[in-house]
């Protein structure tokens, strides 16, 4: 085993170093990026540094990735490297379709698993193996319109810190005559709804497999209050985070819960003083939690170029300090970001990243997520009480997990 590792390390080092002229290597890479975005930029730079490596990129639409990948694997036409969204790692890893990177990482001088933040590391870990390297991360926080805070007599330097304060602020800021809702968030019946709701459950002591807690019930009841009292638009039920935050940018919502991907558009469109704060917690001093988004670079188990593929993953990891400024994600590992753009927002999201928790892991995540979405939607539409809705979801999830 040791000799194998040494050999692997040696091969990786040789392939990674541009000084040697080697046999040409071709790597197939699937990504959700379009040309000009992360994978395309990185692959181009890597190919320039390593002329013997050719990386063939293919863009797959984000919603199609799991389907296309599964089909490609079953027909033997899967790529060497691909992007996978966090919660899907377990689905593929549990079937032995991803390469366990643990030996490669142990032998690597560049990737050190201890430097990866706990949330992102958990998202690529399945039953003891590490099946991917996060390409970056994102999380959610509370955006707020400081001008509206001032107009409504609230202190723009003291954004809401607890759920009660959030509710009060939303009540004060809501102004139907001017078409302003206090808060925008997303309770849509898709993965985005789960993504937004799970942190509320987690910071109140529950998790996806422990939904019938008082805290979770309180969270769902509070969400329902936001809708029932029209502090948030009823369209929250059918709107994703991007569209919800669009209403914040246009001045029709005073606060919005979303992630750093909003910043480029917000800085261009929002003609007011927008700021970011950590997600409010259930009560003063409560544990913090936040969502963990973005995806991972993984190597398929049946790749015929695992060493060359890992060398490219090392290169990607080595450039983690660039992801915020150039590509709009947060670093998933402890790196120094010099001169971050939007420094205040970066500071908040970077802190929030420490509390970001993984969704799952479970190979049946789609079913679990669906049960949570059903709970959210049936409670918010009044078809079930928050307690009943969560109990139903728990029943489904317990069946799936066990």
């Amino acid at each position: 085993m040791r000799t194998i590792r040494v050999l692997l390390a040696g091969t990786a080092a040789i392939i990674a170093s541009p000084a040697f002229a080697q046999e040409p290597v071709e790597l197939d890479l699937w990504t959700i990026d379009d040309p000009g975005e992360y994978h395309y930029v990185m692959a181009e730079e890597y190919m320039a540094e390593n002329p013997h490596v050719t990386i063939n990129l293919r863009t797959v639409q984000f919603p199609d990735m799991v389907n296309d990948l599964a089909r490609a694997i079953s027909t033997g036409s899967a790529p060497d490297i691909t992007y996978i969204d966090n919660p899907e790692i377990a689905l593929f890893a549990s079937r032995g379709l991803l390469l366990d990177l643990t030996p490669h990482i142990e032998a690597s001088d560049i990737v050190n698993a201890d430097d990866i933040f706990p949330g992102p590391l958990a998202s690529v870990t399945y039953e003891g193996g590490i099946y991917g390297i996060p390409r970056g991360a994102n999380t959610i926080a509370l955006y707020y319109n400081a001008d509206m805070f001032t107009d409504a007599g609230l202190d723009p330097d003291a954004p809401p810190r607890t759920w009660d304060e959030l509710y009060e602020a939303a009540t004060v800021l809501t102004n139907p005559a001017r078409n302003i809702y206090g808060l925008a968030f997303s309770a849509v019946g898709s993965e985005e709804g789960t993504f937004q709701f799970l942190p509320w459950v987690q910071m109140a002591g529950g998790d996806y497999d422990n939904l019938t807690t008082d805290g979770a019930e309180r969270a769902l009841a509070l969400w329902k209050t936001f809708i029932d009292e029209r502090l948030a638009s009823p369209d929250t039920l059918i709107r994703g985070q991007w569209d919800s935050t669009g209403t914040f940018n246009s001045g029709n919502a005073a606060m919005s819960i979303s992630g750093p991907w909003e910043i480029p558009r917000m800085s261009a469109e929002a003609d007011f003083d927008w700021r970011v704060a950590l997600l409010p917690v259930p009560h003063e001093g409560a544990e913090r939690a936040s969502a963990l988004g973005e995806g991972d670079n993984v190597i398929l188990a049946n790749s015929d170029q695992p060493e060359a593929a890992f060398a490219f993953l090392e290169f990607l990891y080595d450039n983690m300090d660039r992801v915020w400024n150039e590509f709009g994600y947060l670093p998933a590992s402890a790196v120094d970001v010099t001169d971050p753009i939007f420094p205040e927002a970066y500071a908040v999201f970077e802190e929030s990243m420490q509390y970001a928790r993984n969704r799952g892991p479970s190979p049946d995540w789609p079913q679990i997520s669906q049960a949570i979405q059903t709970a959210i939607q049936s409670a918010l539409t009044g078809q079930a009480s928050p307690a009943e809705a969560l109990a139903d979801a728990q029943e489904t999830i317990s069946d799936v997990v066990n």
């Binding site: 898709s190 369209d235 929250t236 039920l237 059918i238 789609p366 079913q367 139903d392």
Partner: protein
């Protein structure tokens, strides 16, 4: 005087044609080729996928076994799972309401417009053609337009209703679970009316004017003429339009994807969208196949009724 060709003279000629056997250009040879081509096409592109779908509905299929035929058979488990879900009742009821209301409204409005344009006023054919624009547009585009019209906070519809004082509160067309289905129906009726109108216009044009003139001379009023002439003579067209309407409506997927995604809380979910959700969002492909088999059964019944009703028409 030349003797006319007797029957005996012409016999050998007929004989030679028969003896030459099936020719490729004419006769049975070509018939056979045409039949086999059509049959081959139907088998390859309709029957096989259909059978494959039925087989999948009895198997445990997930994403990773989609390309192999060797999958465990689970009997009726998929059907049981699909039928025992809490959402099933709502979704089946939604589907019935969606199809029933859509077809009824499309037919009524389409028939009304067809009769209207039958009046042949200046520009009537031109205007009738313009109506088709809605039908030509892709479903996702129509869905996109209607989602702007029906948007809760900033939609044109709410603005118009409030400006004219019809409602004082905003109606959340797409996010209120008791209304969302009807919003999709409104959009679907808008899409389907032109097609109904054109088919029915063709039928109306085929009714000879003198029948109406004769009835008018006999003193039959407008309504009486409609009930005793138009309706009975339009029977075949109405049957076709209703059957096609049901089938098209059961296929309507784009509007759900664009407007509500079946939500909120399955409030506007219908079987065709549910089947897709099960297969490609929850990866329970066997169950998705089971739902589509159930839908195929409905479509077969509709088609059977249609064929029976038109056969009766031809016989009469």
């Amino acid at each position: 005087m030349t003797v006319p060709l007797s029957t005996t003279d012409s016999m050998p000629t007929v004989g030679t044609i028969r003896a030459s056997g099936p020719s490729f250009r004419d006769g049975r040879g070509l018939d056979r080729v045409l039949v086999w081509l059509t049959l081959g096409f139907l088998v390859a592109f309709s029957a096989l996928p259909l059978v494959y779908n039925v087989v999948m509905s009895f198997q445990s299929v997930d994403l990773f076994t989609i390309a192999s035929f060797d999958r465990p058979f689970v009997g009726l488990d998929n059907y049981k799972a699909v039928l025992s879900q809490r959402a099933t009742g709502t979704i089946v009821r939604n589907t019935a309401v969606f199809v029933g209301l859509s077809v009824a409204l499309q037919l009524t409005i389409g028939f009304g417009l067809a009769l209207y344009f039958q009046q042949r006023f200046p520009g009537s054919t031109w205007l009738r053609g313009l109506f088709l624009a809605g039908w030509i547009m892709p479903g996702l585009v129509v869905g996109g337009v209607w989602s702007w019209i029906l948007a809760g906070d900033f939609g044109v519809m709410n603005w118009a209703l409030q400006a004219t004082g019809i409602t004082s509160d905003k109606i959340f067309w797409l996010s209120d679970p008791s209304i969302a289905l009807y919003s999709v129906i409104i959009a679907n009726v808008w899409v389907g009316v032109p097609f109904n109108m054109i088919l029915l216009s063709v039928g109306l044009a085929a009714i000879p004017d003198d029948v109406y003139e004769a009835a008018e001379m006999d003193g039959a009023g407008r309504i009486w003429r409609f009930l005793t002439i138009t309706l009975p003579l339009m029977r075949a067209q109405l049957g076709a339009v209703i059957s096609l309407g049901i089938i098209f409506t059961l296929q309507q997927f784009d509007l759900f994807a664009a407007l509500t995604q079946g939500g909120p809380s399955n409030g506007s979910n219908v079987m065709q969208y549910w089947s897709w959700e099960l297969s490609f969002q929850h990866y329970r492909i066997g169950q998705g196949a089971a739902v589509s088999v159930l839908m195929i059964l409905v479509v077969i019944c509709v088609a059977a009724i249609y064929v029976r009703s038109t056969r009766h028409e031809h016989a009469a």
